[in-house]
Amino acid sequence: MRREPGPPRVLALCVPELPLQRARRARERREGDRPLAVVAEGRVLHCDADARREGVRAGETVAEARAACGRLETVPVAPAADQAALRALAEAVLSLAPAIEVAPPDALLLDASAAHLASGATGRRPLDEHARGEAERALARQVLAVTEEMGWVARAVVACGRAPARALASHGREPIAVVAPGELTRALAGLPLEALGLEASVAARLRALGVRDAGALARLPPGTLGHRFGPPGVRAARLARGEDDAPLVPYAPETLPEEALELEAPAESAEPLLFGLKRLADRVAARLAGRGLGATRLRLVLALDPRGEERVHITLAQPTASAARWLVPAKEHLFSLRLPGAVTALRLSAEEVAAVEPEQLAIGDRPEAVAALEGVLARLAVRLGDGALFAAEPVERYRPEGAYRAVPFRPPRARAGTVDGVVATPRPTRLLAAPELVVAEGEGGRLTALRVGGRARAVLAWEGPERLRGEWWSSPFDRDYYRVRLDDLGDCWVYRDGADGRLWLHGFFD
């Protein structure tokens, strides 16, 4: 696509009153919830609708707020947690834009230059103004859908330049707005001076001069603000004129996602836990999906009343970012738990992840079989333990008992056509964990029978030896293996130990 001159197209996603939303989002809504306010330095920063109805206002002191509303619940502002929440949201929308900047305290800035790709266009032909606007609007809808799924209410504005887009998103009313390049100055004109990032004192001085909004500031001749208002004044005037070429600073997540939820009331059965877990799973899954990842192992931590916690590890047969698929084994684990106390909170995190290809349904594909697989694996793991079920992976070792290792059962989507690990030499289908000592019986130097399990069995035929030796650096072994057909038993795998010459039964060709 042709690169256009001027400021880049940016989608600004603003989460209004993010600290308040975060506090609400971290707990389940319940009947009789008290009005809530987020406070900082003794003053109300944000308050919810219930608090406002009772007369609480942002900016007043906590004492004043409590005087207006005795039931008011206050939570302190937590900038670090707010930033973490923003980063989590950025992960969830990561796949929707080539670059995303986390812009604290309440915004994400997405590169909207590739909006047409999100709506399925190829990008080979330049788009006209109308088509580009539609593509940007579609992108904004997608971003808001993911945001809503993550439990946030937000506004999205697409405009030229990061600061103008953000200013419009922060002070807009509509959930979605797309501002064409030629309309930016007019769109900005109605914004208050505070939307341009000016300090209150500078804004007050400008107002005293009759400059009441961004439009009035933009109309001032360039170069007249520097000596009176310094760099902030110049920056604000440029912003008011829609001049911002600064590139985005892309965010690259480094940690695996984790989400937490406080339960409405301590839960003593699995059903309310599942309800909360589903919400957490949706959020973690959205964050993984945004990064093109799927979980292969999850950790669920249940906080217990009054103290302590229970950890559950959920292993998945295939990497997936489908929360519904996680819930199948999660249910098995939850229903099998015997907890010493009620559960007060849940924390779900992805412990192991893998890249996932976009999923395609094929004719003959049975998606319900995948759920069935996850379900039965979870039931087996819960009852028998994780170590009881595995897939075998060949290992290049001469020592027979070390020629494979157990790995988690994660069948590939399709077989490549060849089978790995095929060995040319026949091997017994059963290998004894502890080889059994056998005694040879013979006549005139000829082997006639082997005494196995206290009973002599005639040797009908034998092949060998196949010499296997090695591992001199750790625990050396030296064995001559024979395939021996014994009367009334069948083909056995017997070796002569090079160390002492004794014979051992090691397996059966069953």
Binding site: E149, A286, T320, E357, L380, A392, R415, L431
Partner: protein
């Protein structure tokens, strides 16, 4: 950033929807030959019937495990198989040598990992029932432990039959000659090693068992 990745959330949701709407039952008709003529020709329909149990009885080196693995290798390339390893003796390199895709073979060793919490024979039966009834595996072989003297063995056998009919898998019961469990199997073969292969003998067929074994 690929367009496909951008739609992943939507696709995942659609898959869940489809899963709910399309409760297509697992394929449960016909039979699958294992490729060992001496066994296949004794089985109803010329192979191991889906949705039913087939019992292979024999000594420790009779060749019954090799028959089960040959059946796994004969399944389609996309299918999954499970082996309940009651004795913990299955040697996977041998399975690979017989053409089994190890990545698609689930091995379950109930006794070794149960940590002594469960009676091994019971744990094997429980795992077998869970796998046979899951509908996730095309074939499930069970290396069963002797259950002589086990209370409720008949009820267990009925539950196994019900599970295999529900899940539609091919159930292969590998048992010693005197296992103590009377299974309602579609067919019971006794196997023994012989020069150059195995000899198989059809010894029993219980009325009303299995059923879906006519079409090959």
């Amino acid at each position: 950033m690929s367009a496909g990745a951008q739609h992943q959330l939507v696709v995942a949701r659609l898959r869940d929807e489809i899963r709910r709407l399309e409760r297509r039952p697992a394929r449960r008709d016909g039979s699958v030959p294992c490729g060992r003529a001496e066994v296949d020709h004794l089985l109803p329909g010329g192979g191991f019937p889906r949705g039913a149990l087939t019992e292979l009885a024999g000594g420790p080196a009779s060749g019954k495990t090799a028959v089960a693995l040959a059946l796994f290798a004969a399944l389609g390339p996309e299918t999954l198989a499970a082996y309940v390893d009651g004795r913990g003796e299955l040697y996977p390199p041998a399975a690979a040598a017989l053409g089994v895709d190890l990545a698609r073979l689930l091995v379950v060793r109930p006794a070794s990992a149960a940590g002594g919490r469960h009676e091994p024979a019971l744990a094997v039966l429980w795992a077998a029932e869970a796998l046979l009834g899951s509908g996730a595996f095309a074939a499930v072989a069970v290396d069963a432990l002797p259950v002589r003297g086990l209370r409720g063995a008949d009820a267990v056998a009925r539950r196994l039959q019900s599970a295999v009919e529900k899940g539609g898998a091919i159930g292969v019961w590998l048992a010693p000659l005197r296992s103590g469990l009377r299974l309602p199997a579609a067919a019971r073969l006794e196997l023994a090693a012989a020069p150059g292969g195995i000899v198989a003998r059809r010894v029993d067929r219980l009325a009303g068992a299995g059923g879906a074994c006519d079409a090959a």
